[in-house]
């Protein structure tokens, strides 16, 4: 049995309509996770944060082992000590950055440049750590997304977030005491470019994450195009615009009736309600967009020739998201574990592997292969929990 490493099938028959599909099944429950969560928090606080690395491993193992595909669970192999080192580094970096930024001097500029240079690399290492320590049926996942793409994906948004501050810190050009046209042109231009490129960057992120993953010896492929992302963003944008126009009409109507008693602290209650409704609508559209993108990204991902699909329903996800917010707010955070499990269960169980029999023939990646050489050395360095 040990010698019969089958090659992943390349023939088209592997994903023929007769293939046996398997859906992810999540067996974790809110009540169980609540118990683990409370104990993890207690031990973390009692040990002044040191236990958080062990707590993270326990949490991940609970999530992974309760995620079943075709009767077998996933597993998480991260070592607590490696995670602890990553966390200590993160705390030191964040502390140094905070101190540097508060000085507003040349040190702040150094911190910003350091951040732009370092963070994409850290994010890559962190994501690699995550995948290298994930397994299914005893076979590890791998990630070999190039760092250069991380600089494109994360660099531009970071630049847009940091440049105004950097210019201000450099003095002169961004000094609010002497408003400078050039400053506003640079910042506005940067944001405009970022807005136009955002769907493309999102596409790059998903292509980077999905397209450079590997399970055992089977490499993943990502077939979506940037236009798919632009189309979804366009529809979501048009929906927001429609809601905005509708909301503005509502507000105008209610504002006209502001003299009617029932005004709320000088602000007409109509406007107050409209704003709240508009805010909820924005959350709903954002959730809808994330559902569409999950469906599209997973349905465009294949493991060799094994197709994957995702059939998240936007309405259901909006319902879960909004009730989760209420659950967390009204329990003062105590029911966070229930909210987390609910949305995780729904998101995971929408994903289906279309050929479970082909999946079972995937073998382990050869030792000393290109992945092991690039990944293993660095993978113990960091796990920073950026929640990619």
């Amino acid at each position: 049995m040990t010698g019969d490493q089958a090659q992943a099938p390349h023939d088209a028959a592997a994903t023929a309509p007769t293939a046996r599909g398997a859906r992810l099944v999540f067996t974790g429950t809110g009540a169980e996770y609540f118990r683990i969560w409370i104990v993890n928090l207690l031990l973390t606080i009692v040990t002044l944060g040191i236990y958080s690395a062990w707590a993270k491993v326990r949490k991940m193992q609970y999530f992974y082992r309760n995620t079943q595909l075709d009767g077998s669970g996933f597993d998480y192999h991260g070592r607590p000590v490696a995670i602890l080192k990553g966390r200590i580094l993160a705390v030191v970096l964040v502390g140094a950055y905070q101190i540097a930024m508060r000085t507003l001097g040349p040190l702040a500029l150094v911190a910003i440049v350091g951040l732009i240079a370092g963070l994409p690399w850290l994010l890559t290492q962190s994501y690699r750590f995550r995948l290298h320590n994930s397994s299914y049926r005893g076979l590890r996942f791998r990630f070999h997304g190039p760092v250069s793409q991380a600089y494109l994906i994360f660099g531009l948004p970071m630049l847009a977030a940091l440049v105004p501050g950097a210019l201000a810190a450099a003095g002169g050009i961004g000094d609010p005491r002497h408003p400078d046209k050039r400053f506003f042109i640079i910042v506005a231009g940067l944001y405009l470019v970022l807005m136009i490129l955002w769907p493309y960057l999102h596409f790059c992120l998903k292509r980077w994450q999905h397209g450079h993953a590997q399970f055992g010896q089977a490499r993943a492929r990502f077939d979506a195009t940037a236009w798919d992302f632009y189309a979804l963003y366009l529809v979501a944008g048009l929906m927001m615009l429609g809601i905005g126009v509708f909301g503005a009409i509502l507000i105008a109507l209610f504002a006209g009736a502001s003299s009617i008693p029932g005004a709320f602290r000088g602000v007409p209650s109509g406007i107050f309600v409209s704003m709240l409704a508009f805010y909820c609508a924005a959350i709903a559209v954002g959730t809808l967009l994330s559902a569409w993108i999950q469906n599209m990204a997973w349905s465009s991902t294949r493991l060799e020739s094994i197709a994957i699909s995702s059939d998240l329903r936007g309405g259901r996800l909006i319902g879960i998201t909004l009730t989760n917010v209420l659950l967390i707010v009204f329990s003062l955070g105590l029911l966070i574990p229930f909210a987390v499990i609910r949305s995780m269960k729904y998101r995971l169980e929408s994903i289906k592997v279309l050929d479970a029999d082909a999946l079972a023939t995937i073998g382990r990646a050869a030792e000393g292969g290109p992945v092991a050489a690039t990944g293993e050395g660095a993978m113990d360095v960091l796990d920073l929990d950026f929640g990619l």
Binding site: R35, G71, G138, P337, T361
Partner: protein, 348 residues
Amino acid sequence: MRRPPTSPAATVEARFHDGLIATAHPVTLCLEAGGIVVLGEGFTRQYDWGGTRISERLGSAPRLLSFEDGAFCEIPQQAALDAALRTAGYRAAWGEWLPQHWGRVVLALALLLTAIGATYRWGLPLAADLVARQIPVGAERALGARAADYFESQMLKPSKLPEARRRELQQLFESLVPRGDRSYRLALHDGGPIGANALALPGGTVVLTDQLVELAPDDDALRGVLAHEIGHVERRHVLRQIISATVVSAVATLVAGDTSGLFAALPATLANLSYTRAMEREADRYAIESLKARSIALEPFAVLLERLQREHGQTSVGAPAYLSTHPDTVERVRAIRAAQERLQFPSR
């Protein structure tokens, strides 16, 4: 590694994976004293307990027996395995043992709330104080200098008080500065949007607005206010606040880490507000000591506080930084007057 089970063999259904290919084999495990026998369809394997790792129990998630050769078994049924492991002398770690019964979880929750409460009430101020002592005043000045510059130039306009009066106030301020410390500076400004106000910026700059000077019944009242602000600087309040806010937001991130930043920011903001109150009381105590040491009456300071409360109570639109964090002005005035009385009784 683990002691072998001493009871007769227990059998458990499991799925066997060889670690080489993603195929799951349904097998029967015989957990015997001498080792583990894996009975599969057409194959049998035998392992020692010594080289076998037993995964911890996580709710009802399948448990794993991982063998030395990279193969492992996934066992969905907990009960049969538990029975075998119990006799094997398997000992759960704290973090594994605690979540297994609701009683322990409730106990853990009670301990958690106690720990958070105690840390917040005593641990955090103490830690902030210890850390603040390690950071040199020079570094704090560097932190605050640009911020102070910006605040003074953007928010405030130059004072409209006559030159002579300003000089008087500077002298008054210098008489209150401890040990003739050179880092202190009094900045007189027209309050503008912040009205009658006084505040301490990190690094020793104390801002006093014209409106507050005019509101004061006499110079002793101003001495009280200035001593209070010097108290903030002396006790390193800005730095301590930054430190404790950082710790609180770190804990909040731990708690809400699974959700989003939306919920993480809230407790940190609350912590900020409440710490300021404790610090106000500390600054008041400093002011009382400082005035007593110079034989200055405390009553005018109390009167000024009351006037300030009335002033800002009427025009709540501005940014009454001096008052927004002082909802307990009545209590503060009472404390100052009590200190005044204690001062007077011995002299009678």
